[in-house]
Subunit: 267 residues, 2 copies
């Protein structure tokens, strides 16, 4: 795929969906740099579709889940942030900043273990300021049960001993496996009905590029909170109820479009 | 991207979403063979997302639109089927069969005119039995107005003189342009709210891999119908009303999921 023609498609600066188009190109670049798997491009498209329905903005239900997620991460003994190709390609700097802020190491865990992919992701995270990236040394990895794919290999200093795992853009099998291992799972997923969204303890239905900076901002605030205050925030969060609020939002949006969508025909 | 590791991910035959996974791999293969643009993978993902919400089946509203679409194609003086990389990668044989059945030539029209892509698509269609593929001879192409991209170049024997254009998986700018040129436009789009879906005269909200064989089957039946019968089918179709029915279906589906989605947690 040596041809770089497609990398430089010009996007007018006033394009109404410029952010979405720029991140689309980050994902395509990621694939060319080995960071993103081909199937990761398709997954990105699924996300784009849901983000469109959510108005491409961070809604109240997302903020609600973010608050609980940050409190949960700050309460954890061994929090860890699981990183795959898509997340690394989209927002390496924000991952590093959040990791430092909540004292949770980054662990690379990918489905398509193509030769060189782990190193490509590691390099990207290190260029973004990341240090001590876990999941990169095959010789020390240990297996976890409940998962048949090559993702069962985890870092003994990371996911293996973790109590709280933050898994942005994760697949359902893995989320279920982590839950069955007794981990507390925090996910970011634009699809409120994905198996990951349903299985997670705290599901942030939002675009990861918007979520991470907000998490860091809230973490800086919550760091001054007492444990009891943080526990209260976590306890008051109800993931099922929150996802149902997302679905109500989607229903409202689609109902509105039944007339509004056709207005473009009369301009 | 010489590494072919990812092409042979094993999918268990009883996987509940095996069809979706197999076509995902067709799209990835298509990219490796130059047929599909990188952005085409992301577009495929958006489609997958909507197909999931539609239950991954051809619903009544789709059949209703297919009937009108086939009648419209059979009534046309110069029908043409516009083919892009994704459609060619997903179902080349079905395109050729439909083309022969309704006497509408296939015209290649792509957004990302990477070197060799038109020829790769042409080859794929010819291997599937296609003959006289239009849109392949740059020296005879003519420009149409209303479109600024390189897709303004169309074949003088195809889209240029057409009255009815069938545009599966098309982008909104082009659909709008064709409408403004006075063409009757038939689209297949899994997103009922895309600009293509809204602008088209007849929008089939369904997965192209299911739609094309059904169109051919109905075309074989409708070929025996009198013109008046076909006209009646077209006249009785209301695209706005039909899309509103799609949206009602989606709302019903999401409402149902507010409880049902969580049942996986209690198995």
């Amino acid at each position: 795929m040596g041809d770089k023609e497609n990398n430089y498609v010009k996007i007018p600066k006033d394009h109404p969906r410029i952010t979405s188009l720029l991140y689309r190109h980050k994902i395509i670049e990621g694939m060319k740099n080995l960071v993103v798997a081909e199937a990761g491009l398709i997954a990105h498209g699924r996300g784009e579709c849901f983000d469109y329905i959510l108005g491409e903005k961070t809604n109240d239900f997302a903020i609600h889940a973010i608050n609980a997620a940050v409190a949960q991460l700050l309460l954890a003994q061994h929090p860890v942030i699981s990183v795959n190709g898509n997340v690394a390609a989209l927002c390496p700097e924000d991952l590093v900043i959040l990791s430092n802020t909540v004292n949770a190491p980054l662990e690379i865990n990918i489905f398509y273990r193509k030769k060189g992919r782990v190193n490509a992701i590691k390099k990207l995270l290190e260029e973004a300021g990341g240090k001590n990236i876990l999941g990169t040394d095959e010789s020390i990895m240990v297996e976890i049960e409940e998962l048949s794919s090559n993702r069962r290999n985890v870092d003994p200093k990371g996911i293996k001993i973790s109590d709280v795992v933050f898994i942005p853009l994760e697949d359902g099998d893995r989320t279920e496996a982590l839950k069955k291992l007794g981990k507390t799972v925090i996910s970011v997923d634009l699809n409120p009905l994905s198996r990951t969204a349903i299985w997670a303890d705290i599901t942030i239905v939002d675009n990861i590029i918007r979520t991470l900076p907000i998490m860091t901002k809230i973490a800086l605030k919550y760091k001054n909170y007492a444990k009891e205050q943080l526990k209260k925030i976590v306890d008051e969060f109800n993931n099922k109820k929150n996802i149902q609020n997302v679905l109500d939002f989607v229903i409202k949006y689609i109902n509105l479009q039944k007339e509004k969508a056709f207005s473009i025909l009369y301009k």
